[in-house]
Symmetry: C2
Subunit: 337 residues, 2 copies
């Protein structure tokens, strides 16, 4: 039998069924991985599917599943690399469990907007919603979600209530690990640049760093405020470098500030890592593109989003913290004295 292997669209499940000599139902079973199909039948159908390049219509699929199978992704801050990663992870996760992903713009800091975004999602039939930062620490969004009775998975923020699932790395532990790494290399005076105080991760990271410092005799942590921006990192870096006991390493609470601190080191006529090691947190695009590359902590953002989608779909478990990874690049070395 000759099968047109072209781009002709509009192939339906019925077409595949006819070609394979089975009923549409059987094709549906094969496509959905239902166990109760004889091996021979399955193989046959799969072959036809491959030959024809058939892809089931997602819309019809969702519709037939009668309203079930929809999850939402809220987003704020469109021009943010983090979001792009969340999105691709969520998309993949949703696809893998056969869910439709509704993507809904919100607006962090505008309570009314936030509420409406959640309502649109709810009205759109989402059973669950993925909440990336900074929405996950916004009361307006969280309230609206709890009223809507949707399930929710918040990313990179603690679960503010019982019925929320939180997917985040162990910020305390990661900061501890990073600080210990610096201490192990021999650094004793370490500058620390704080993040925004309205995000709980900021304090977690400071606590982790402090804990590591406390374990080592004679080690000190010089803490400077910051707000996660490059500029605040630059200024905090300048202040740190101007101190009488100049730190030999600077740990910034995110990569943007680390990049700023790096610039401050250069501006002070010093060199990284020779004079001052600099480390960040997040492993964003910036960390790898800056020179020298930043030693930092990678959060598996896309993987977290994928898992969030799967949890919402399959009703998974709210297991423990997500594993992070320390990425070593060129911005760290033992102190030169």
């Amino acid at each position: 039998m000759t099968v047109k292997t072209g781009q002709g669209r509009n192939r339906t499940m019925g077409d595949i069924a006819r070609l394979a000599g089975v009923s549409p139902m059987t094709v549906s079973r094969v496509v959905n991985g239902d166990a109760r199909v004889r091996e021979a039948t399955r193989t046959k159908v799969e072959q036809i599917i491959r030959e024809t390049g058939y892809v089931p219509d997602p819309a019809a699929r969702i519709l037939a599943r009668a309203g079930a199978g929809r999850i939402g992704l809220l987003y704020a801050n469109p021009s943010n690399a983090y979001l792009a990663e969340v999105l691709s992870g969520a998309l993949e996760g949703a696809r893998s469990v056969g869910l439709l992903l509704l993507i809904e713009p919100s607006q962090a800091g505008a309570p009314e907007e936030e509420r409406e975004a959640v309502q649109r999602l709810s009205a759109g039939g989402a059973q669950g919603v993925i909440v990336p930062p900074p929405l996950g620490e916004s009361q307006a969004t969280l309230d609206a979600i709890s009223k809507s009775r949707m399930k929710a998975v918040v990313l990179a923020a603690p679960a503010a209530s019982e019925d929320l699932v939180s997917l985040k790395v162990d910020d305390v532990g990661a900061a501890h690990q990073m600080t210990k790494h610096l201490l192990d290399m021999g650094h004793r005076v370490i500058g620390f640049i704080l993040g925004r105080q309205d995000q709980s991760a900021s304090d977690d990271r400071r606590r982790g760093a402090q804990a590591a410092i406390d374990d080592v005799e004679g080690a000190v942590l010089q803490v400077e405020p910051g707000d996660f921006t490059y500029r605040s990192g630059f200024e905090a870096g300048r202040r740190l470098l101007a101190q009488s006991r100049r730190p030999t390493a600077i740990f910034a609470s995110n990569d943007d500030m680390a990049a700023g601190a790096l610039a401050a080191v250069h501006a002070a006529g010093l060199s990284t890592p020779r004079d001052v090691s600099v480390v960040g947190f997040d492993d964003t695009y910036l960390a790898a593109s800056v020179w020298p590359g930043l030693t930092t902590i990678r959060q598996p953002v896309a993987a977290m989003a994928r898992r969030a989608a799967i949890i919402l779909g399959r009703g998974g478990e709210n297991s423990g913290p997500v594993a992070h990874e320390m990425i070593l690049r060129e911005s760290t070395s033992p102190p030169s004295d």
Copy 2:
């Protein structure tokens, strides 16, 4: 009549019709802005819709439109801020013309992957596809699209063939404008950092800059290679600053390289903008977060994506270049001599 204004889902068009005392068809017309509905009827229906918070089921809508109404967005490089903006623009555009946006991961540089991504989109029923960079200059993707008979709008790249619509800013003109700005401030020796040579915008920008230089007696453009990364900008910046005729301004072909050049200025013990002005191109997140903020050229990325979606939906015109905008920040000033 009391209407439950709660979160109860599952309201269908039929429910609204019953409440409003009309037929489902009429509700559909109101929802879709069909002109042929009496004003009184429309108002009534709209009120019920508002009271109930009814939102039509997107899946059913798409399905009923019988395969029509789908466009695709290809994407590569998930962790890219540019993409997030394209996405939000495309989403909005698609929504505004009632289209379903299929989002499909591709992989720049892997021809087989690229081909498959396009095919999935085509198989998924997309009639058109939005192609953001760098896919828009990839032969594999472009070939696959032309075979698939989908319409396509490429973003930030020239139309490689007749049936492609291209949405891009006038790179030549923008670079000319930026260079003229520097010349007008009094700069005469200007460093220029090239972009990757496999993207046509790179050469366009150089040509624009050169053209502006050629108009001014005694002005020179010192061109250094680069590849759009921070690091290449840093190194090109160093080379430029080491030259006998040190430039008083550096024009980098994108913001990443401009940020690198900025670091090189600092590293050389100089200051921006006092000793050396630095400008970029693109107005990415980086441009605003670096300090001093970069004077740069903004491309309306989200707006372009929105327009792309609308063109694919409504079959719009492939009008001229997209308007860009020069953003003045703190990284530029007249030369200090």
